[in-house]
Symmetry: C2
Subunit: 429 residues, 2 copies
């Protein structure tokens, strides 16, 4: 039952950001049982040689819309309004459950290939996403994104409840479910409260978009006389655990509220740049004690679901925005992509760092590359120089999803073929 | 002698950005002889099947410091002054010609692996760089970076002249030389004029850093009462062809001067972010008619020499800075990375686009990947979704430098080993 990874440099991302050079990791029944020196007496069933590799916690993509990968590179370089009204929304209205299944499996394939072991998806036909997660073996937080339907306000909440009953803690607790009212500008105050009450009743958290664009914040002031974050706060929504995507246009009062209520912001730098939304004040949020996590957003506004790319963007852009070369250090960006994501998903007791007793969700990164030569500093290498394509092997729950870059659980050729087929069908439907 | 690439989608980057689906490229004696339909009568000596691939011009890295790759990830997350004075400068002072040779060969390896076919390097011991370029087969613009030595102002200019005599138009005109006074803050007005006169005498161009940081611009106003660009303009330096790296803090008057004199700015978004220098007004420069090119800068401030990464950054960041999702479109970013780079190096008659009569400097990008699925728009795919690791095959002057990701001209293992060895020796020397 036991598995050993030897000769491996280990970036634990534990509370001291401990790094172990040339160590060992032992895994039994999907759990990390030992990290460090060789256990001489122990006979592993399988041993991996980690020479030239770094082991680190699998990345946690804390905010994405996976089915949208069918629209990757479909409608770029358009103004936001035209992009949404003429391209994205008309096509989204035609998305079938089959589209979502293949689009999501395409996204899971890309994520596994680039070192993501857990995603938090907000979309619809979420049963299909759950099915894909079970098949691929990736760890999943499923959240059914709800734009309020005034004609039948309970329908999508009931779908969320059914999704919860079907999937929460399924597959050896590899899948969980949160409630996802889309945003304060697509859900009424009353509906937001109902969504929060459902989350509270089920004992789970909320996933919501907050303060993504300047326009959204302006309109919130016009309509409610306050920022989106203060608006949601006053409704009592933050009384449940909340994962808040984007949080770009937040002021000091917004940050004070998030600190008070323990709100978990997700930084989405790639999407925020591509859609011209702006730059989140990440270092300020970190300084105030917020656990900022990291997500790719959907592939139609990124246009990748590659957490190594996002990690690099997160570590770079706030330096220039803040005019401070120390803003969002490599180590902080790496925490965003791993342990902070786990906190955002209330999963930090099990994932997000390599520690004894935690689930064996980890990746091996091949450092034997020209662009990772010479070796001076592992954390800098990971944040500033490594690519998703350097990920060699991926474990989730102690099971191998990719080995030496070969997909183990996913039929790669079929996924590419079916995703292409569904995408072409979708845009001509 | 002839080579044919068939079944290939071709992104030409010619003046109309023409794209040819499922076409052919014919190459003879290093020159592109035909693009488009199959030539039924022609018998090629070698045929490449380009199925699932895009052919595009090789990337042109218009500003880098290649020897610095030995310091990649050596001293990150430090304030600029401390980084320079305590880390970079003390180590640079100890760099040997052997360090430069192996560091530069490491850089060339990384660049070839990520689709760069031409670089413009500004550093010292440039003979070593020229030697490496001859061995690796990559196209090279060598520029000996000159920080003025007040005790012997002519020494480095003479080195530049010797470099020119030794290498300019060497290796079937695959190597050229420009004159590179480092910056207006490291070279006196008199010296800048001397450098310009040397370039003029030799019939070549100048390569210089201009307006990289706010501090530099402020100090120029304090010392000369004008911006670095106006200062250099008033000296008559721009009377020769000038490639100007960074150009971050430029105002409307600076841009007007650059337009008047046909100065070629190089955008270095990765380095400008990492060092907290800021964001160049790229779209404004494009709108005014400047041919903005793209460069990685050195690996100690990037920390990669990967033009696909730089292309992606260039296409993303100005959107958020300008609050305009149409700023620096995919197509414009791709022109920056290819044909505009060629213009910056005065090489546009031979490279930078795939056109009959031009040198066969081209790359094949493998699109058969999950993150490049589905296929909606080739240019968007290249700028927003593709990675350097998707580059499959690289031709320079019609010769293969990488084939199916296997290095052909470079001993990969030796380069990694020697670069690591020299780097460890260097920092403990």
């Amino acid at each position: 039952m036991g598995l050993r990874i030897k000769n491996i440099d280990i970036v634990t991302m534990n509370s001291e950001n401990k790094i172990i050079m040339n160590g060992n990791i032992y895994i039994e029944n999907g759990i990390i049982t030992h990290i460090g020196e060789e256990l001489k007496e122990y006979k592993a069933d399988e041993t991996f040689n980690g020479r030239h590799m770094i082991a680190m916690p699998g990345m946690i993509n804390a905010h994405t819309h996976m089915g949208m990968s069918l629209l990757r590179n479909y409608a770029d370089d358009l103004p936001l309004h035209q992009w949404l009204t003429e391209k994205i929304w008309p096509v989204e209205a035609k998305l079938s459950s089959k589209d979502i299944y293949w689009g999501s499996l395409l996204s899971m394939t890309e994520m596994i290939q680039t070192g993501t072991t857990t995603f938090c998806d907000m979309y619809f036909y979420m049963d299909e996403v759950g099915k894909g997660a079970e098949e691929s073996g990736i760890r999943a937080m499923l959240t059914r994104g709800i734009i309020e339907d005034r004609n039948d306000p309970d329908k999508k909440l009931n779908e969320s409840r059914e999704l919860f009953n079907r999937y929460h803690k399924a597959s050896n607790d590899k899948i969980r479910v949160m409630i996802a009212p889309h945003a304060p500008y697509t859900c009424s105050p009353e509906f937001l409260v109902k969504a929060k009450e459902l989350a509270s009743e089920l004992g789970t958290g909320l996933h919501i978009h907050l303060s993504e664009t300047e326009k959204e914040v302006q309109e919130s002031y016009e309509k409610f006389g306050k920022s989106p974050i203060e608006h949601v706060y006053n409704l009592g929504v933050f009384d449940v655990h909340t994962l808040a995507a984007h949080c770009v246009h937040v002021d000091d009062n917004d940050i004070r509220i998030m600190v008070e209520k323990g709100v978990h912001p997700v930084n989405n730098p790639g999407s925020n740049m591509k859609l011209a939304s702006g730059f989140a004040p990440v270092q300020k949020m970190i300084d105030k004690g917020l656990f900022v996590s990291l997500g790719t957003d959907g592939a139609s506004s990124n246009n990748n679901l590659n957490m190594f790319k996002e990690l690099n963007l997160a570590a770079l852009i706030n330096k220039a925005v803040d005019k401070d070369a120390l803003s969002v250090k490599a180590e902080d960006a790496l925490r965003m992509a791993t342990i902070n994501g786990a906190r955002g998903l209330q999963w930090e007791n099990q994932i997000g760092s390599l520690e004894v007793g935690k689930k064996a969700d980890l990746i091996l990164v091949n450092m034997d590359k020209p662009h990772l030569t010479p070796k001076h500093n592992l954390v800098s290498s990971l944040a500033y120089s490594a690519y998703g394509s350097d990920v060699d092997t991926v474990f989730v729950d102690g099971k191998i999803l990719m080995k030496n870059r070969e997909m183990v659980t996913i039929d790669l050729e079929k996924v590419k073929y079916m995703a292409q087929k569904q995408a072409m069908d979708l845009i001509t439907r």
